[in-house]
């Protein structure tokens, strides 16, 4: 039976999550140099267009229709055939099946937009479009099926991922690392200063991400109930804890910067994502706080290694998501969610093992498939603009526009 309160909540949550994709565009767009701000925003917008269509045509059926051996969905729901206004109790008994489809669409859309941070300021727009279409189909859709699809092998194994720590963040983060390695550094990387072009725009992005994340995690309860509320509360708390810790870390180093706390907040949001339906508020403080430490030092390491994974999708999403998934194995509690499981601290080390497997599997799969896709796209279309186009900036060279 369709419940109007649950439907209202999942609908508005969906709208919030869809807002996150352009928000990533603001967040990333403000962090690149002035000559490529529009290009960065454009890539996130294009992800929204492209995957909106890919998902209703093919993505949803690959991820959620009846499984083929636990690895991938079938083609039964191609073009949304049979996905209608009645509920599908396999996934959510009190909202229309179309509503579940759309909520999931928002996740499928936002995930590839996170990878944009890896190749800003140097990718050819056409290559970006091809890559993103392929990535959604060959990385996101299978992993979503493994973890969330009925019959998916990680779901069957008992892996817990409330709102996408593995499906969204581990995939995006490890893929970002892979494609950054293929496409190479920006000209002048490590030598020229790469001043962020518009910090207020970064803040607008971060704030809309925080706002949207209430739908991301809260909506993942698929109902307007106590579990949704729990997810909402721990989301806010973890973000606050992570931003605070990041502020302290950068203060110890020198000065607490706006860029820093905005990043910290996002890292906290990432880390609580898989855990948000299984842990309580005090655990959220720990999860968020440690996430900040982990991602902070991962960025330090990344810079030391002189890898131009330009906006640190790997350090923030890859590591944040991995930590969150593992933390779920540590802090999960059946008091919070009877349908979940107890974690290590409540005497169940098994869950932690399962979580590690889930992280490892999605990380390796994402890295390898993305690496192959990136090399392929490079061969066929060419990933990178000419050095002259790169120096002039992607706004002019790819879109004939300036801010």
């Amino acid at each position: 039976m369709i419940n109007s309160g649950d439907t209202a909540w999942v609908l508005i949550s969906t709208a919030l999550v869809i807002l996150m994709t352009p928000a990533v565009g603001f967040f990333y767009g403000g962090m690149v140099r002035k000559k490529s701000i529009l290009s960065t925003m454009m890539m996130c917008l294009a992800t929204l267009f492209l995957i909106s269509l890919q998902w209703v045509l093919i993505g949803y059926t690959l991820a959620f229709s009846p499984t083929k051996g636990g690895l991938i969905g079938g083609l039964q729901w191609l073009g949304l055939r049979g996905v209608g206004q009645l509920s599908n109790p396999d996934y959510a008994a009190t909202i229309p099946a179309l509503c579940f489809m759309m909520f999931q669409a928002a996740f499928a859309i936002v995930t590839p937009s996170l990878i944009v941070g890896a190749f800003v300021e140097r990718i050819k727009f056409s290559a970006f479009l091809v890559f993103t279409g392929l990535w959604a189909t060959f990385v996101y859709d299978p992993v979503a099926h493994w973890v969330w699809g009925v019959g998916g092998w990680l779901r069957a194994l008992g892996a817990l991922d409330f709102a996408g720590g593995t499906v969204v963040h581990v995939t995006a983060g490890f893929s970002a690392l892979a494609i950054a390695m293929v496409i190479g550094k920006r000209i002048g990387y490590g030598k020229d200063n790469m001043e962020p072009g518009n910090i207020p725009l970064v803040v607008i992005g971060a704030v809309l991400l925080w706002f949207g994340w209430f739908g991301f995690n809260g909506g993942s309860a698929l109902a307007a109930n106590g579990l949704a509320v729990n997810a909402f509360v721990v989301t806010n708390t973890a973000a606050a804890a992570a931003a605070t810790v990041w502020m302290i870390l950068s203060w110890l180093h020198r000065r607490p910067s706006v860029l820093g706390v905005a990043t910290g907040a996002v890292v906290g949001l990432v880390a609580i994502t898989p855990a948000s339906g299984f842990v309580d508020t005090m655990a959220a403080i720990v999860i968020g706080g440690l996430a900040a430490v982990i991602s902070y030092y991962m960025i330090v390491l990344r810079m030391t290694l002189r890898i131009d994974e330009s906006l640190d999708a790997f350090a923030c999403h890859g590591m944040g998501g991995a930590w969150g998934a593992i933390a779920t194995g540590i802090f999960a509690s059946k008091v919070v969610n009877p349908a979940g499981a107890d974690g290590l601290l409540l005497g169940n080390p098994g869950l932690l093992g399962t979580q590690v497997i889930a992280v490892a599997a999605t990380a390796v799969f994402s890295f390898v498939v993305t690496y192959v896709l990136a090399v392929l796209v490079d061969l066929v279309v060419g990933l990178r603009v000419t050095s002259n186009e790169e120096l002039v900036g992607l706004d002019i060279s790819q879109h004939a526009e300036t801010i």
Binding site: N193, R254, S257, G260, A262, T263, I299, V300
Partner: protein, 112 residues
């Protein structure tokens, strides 16, 4: 006539404008520029760690004055803008051959 081009700290502009105002020097043009000198740049915070910005925001103030006013104006600028710390800026003086006031099409010193 002489052109005084002073590169100064942004935060000194208001004070300088007032000091000049008081002595009757009203006409001037200012530009936001970025400069580099002894004070080679500044370290700004990135998300993690910092990066060097090679150019610092400065104000370029241009005033065209009669030769006999030159010393007074330069004096005022020195007075207000010297803090003794690196980054105070420079004054460049050059020659201007003709001035025209567009409103009245006057030429020469009366056009200043």
């Amino acid at each position: 006539m002489k052109k005084i081009e002073a590169i100064i700290r942004s935060e000194k502009l208001e004070e300088l404008r007032e000091a000049l105002d008081k002595r009757g020097y009203i006409g001037m043009t200012v530009t936001e520029v970025k400069g580099r000198g002894k004070q080679k740049g500044v370290m700004l915070e990135w998300r993690v760690g910092e990066y060097r910005v090679e150019f610092l925001p400065k104000i370029k103030l241009e005033m065209v004055v009669e030769e006999k006013q030159l010393n007074e104006v330069v004096g005022v600028i020195e007075e207000v803008c010297s803090t003794g710390k690196i980054g105070d800026g420079k004054i460049f003086i050059s020659n201007i051959e003709e001035v025209i006031r567009l409103r009245t099409r006057e030429r020469g010193i009366t056009a200043l």
